[in-house]
Symmetry: C2
Subunit: 296 residues, 2 copies
């Protein structure tokens, strides 16, 4: 494990042209590498528009096997630039069986590991349960040359159980590729409560587990093809928090942005010495966590 | 369950005279009741100085059986003012067996229930493992005439498992009586990180569980009887957050303060409809939460 890593964070607006998106992503990844990034992290489902605003079977054409066309593209980028690269892809596992899958490439271009999104949302304009089967790989960090990456995806960010299990399984940091935004009919106050809740929940994972947390969100407005809503304005605000939940860097809520952030993987040790939350967990009293809800 | 409750929050500096502290607390509770409070919540171990700064057997004299002298005093206050009252007491269960116990009185003066602090800290100036046996009552909300109170205490606030289990067991809100402060040798930046982490962790419990959260902290400086440290400056900042983690009210970080805050127990329903985190918990994949740590 390195003591301090330079992390490149790419927050982009995406359009309907997959090849164009990939080319723009590769350009920003290269920009990060040129500035010394050792790890570059991309937002959720970065290759395409956020297609889950409607339920249409032709959207499954965006999916690819892993390994396959998409991983070959990103493997080559990682190898050429000699960086660890976190991508977020639409995985075709079998006909009629698809996942929302993060794939991590090591700096030699090999696949270091993958994580299949475990918690799948479904609410107006985010019809993910139609597209993605919930993950079956559990909460295992991905071992790379820069450290053990606790990769989780978007909706997972609301679940302290996921963050805890990643930390208990040895993650050096948590990383959340995300695609979250506002519906235009919400009030300004409600929008701010949502974005703030989103950030607080993830900063708290840093606090509870004494780990840095990185969130990468998309930005820009994407129309609803059905016209049922006014589309989603993705709120950007990609950020990095240290192991006390303190904000180390934060991107714009409306513009594309690429940031290089220095993240210490050593400070966790110091923070956990004085906040030894793992020491005092009441594992004798947590058994009901695996229940659906209380006693009914 | 009431739809909206008026909560009185009493943040005080405490001195060595227990009778004097009780009289001042009763005065503030009465002040809350006069302003319409239906529930009044007190800070952790409010009857005495925070005696855990050192380890001395004579400190066990502060403890009382439950029911006993302390509960008789507060039961009478609750009954007289016809309010639900949350107290935090040093419980003598048997010679050599003590707990840090929150006792809730209903508005008729009866004991509605008690909670024994489950997670016990131990770090310089907070030698609680010497004094308190970890609780054995689990994470059960206390049923009262104003709702089911998810009472947790101080160090519990760093554990998302505790908040989750209280919520799953039907709590209408979470309440954390607390005694936390700064050590003088920390830098201003470190102090701010600590206070911010403390607040974020609790606001995130509101977010993850779609519940209001109330934290009541003591304030003022208490000397270290051993002289080993410069004592603790308790950072006050008692607050109430709504079910999206939004701050509804916040007290001073250095002054005594009594606040009346209106808390909706109805908004949780609306928030959970659009953020249905309980719907998607992966209870098939959380089993390792009861492990101490990963696979080693």
């Amino acid at each position: 494990m390195k003591k301090e890593i330079q992390v490149g964070i790419v927050q982009l607006a995406i359009d309907a042209d997959v090849q164009h998106n990939r080319a723009r992503l590769a350009q920003q990844i290269e920009h990060c590498a040129a500035q010394g990034a050792q790890l570059v992290v991309l937002q959720e489902l970065h290759d395409s528009l956020y297609f889950c605003q409607t339920e249409h079977t032709e959207m499954f054409d965006y999916a690819h096997p892993i390994p396959g066309e998409a991983t070959e593209f990103y493997a080559a980028v990682a190898k050429r630039l000699h960086i660890v690269l976190l991508t977020s892809l639409f995985e075709k596992r079998a006909p009629g069986l698809y996942h929302n899958t993060a794939v991590v490439f090591d700096s030699d271009g090999s696949i270091a590991g993958k994580y299949r999104k475990m918690h799948i949302p479904d609410d107006p304009a985010y019809y993910e349960k139609f597209y993605f089967t919930p993950g079956d790989l559990g909460f295992q960090p991905i071992e790379t040359s820069v450290g053990k990456l606790g990769v989780l995806v978007c909706w997972d960010q609301w679940y302290p159980e996921a963050a805890r299990l990643m930390a208990m399984n040895g993650a050096d940091l948590l990383i959340y590729p995300t695609a979250i935004g506002w519906e235009s009919s919400d009030s300004a106050e409600e929008k701010e409560r949502q974005r703030s809740a989103w950030q607080i929940a993830q900063r708290a994972h840093a606090v509870s587990n004494g780990l840095p947390v990185i969130a990468i969100n998309r930005v820009g407005v994407e129309a609803d093809p059905s016209g049922a809503t006014k589309g989603i304005r993705f709120w950007g605000t990609s950020f990095v928090a240290g192991p006390q939940g303190e904000i180390l860097a934060q991107a714009s809520d409306s513009e594309e942005e690429t940031m290089i952030v220095s993240v210490s993987l050593e400070r966790s040790e110091q923070v956990r010495r004085i906040w030894p939350f793992f020491r005092d967990r009441r594992i004798d009293a947590y058994g009901d966590i695996v229940k659906r809800y209380g006693n009914n």
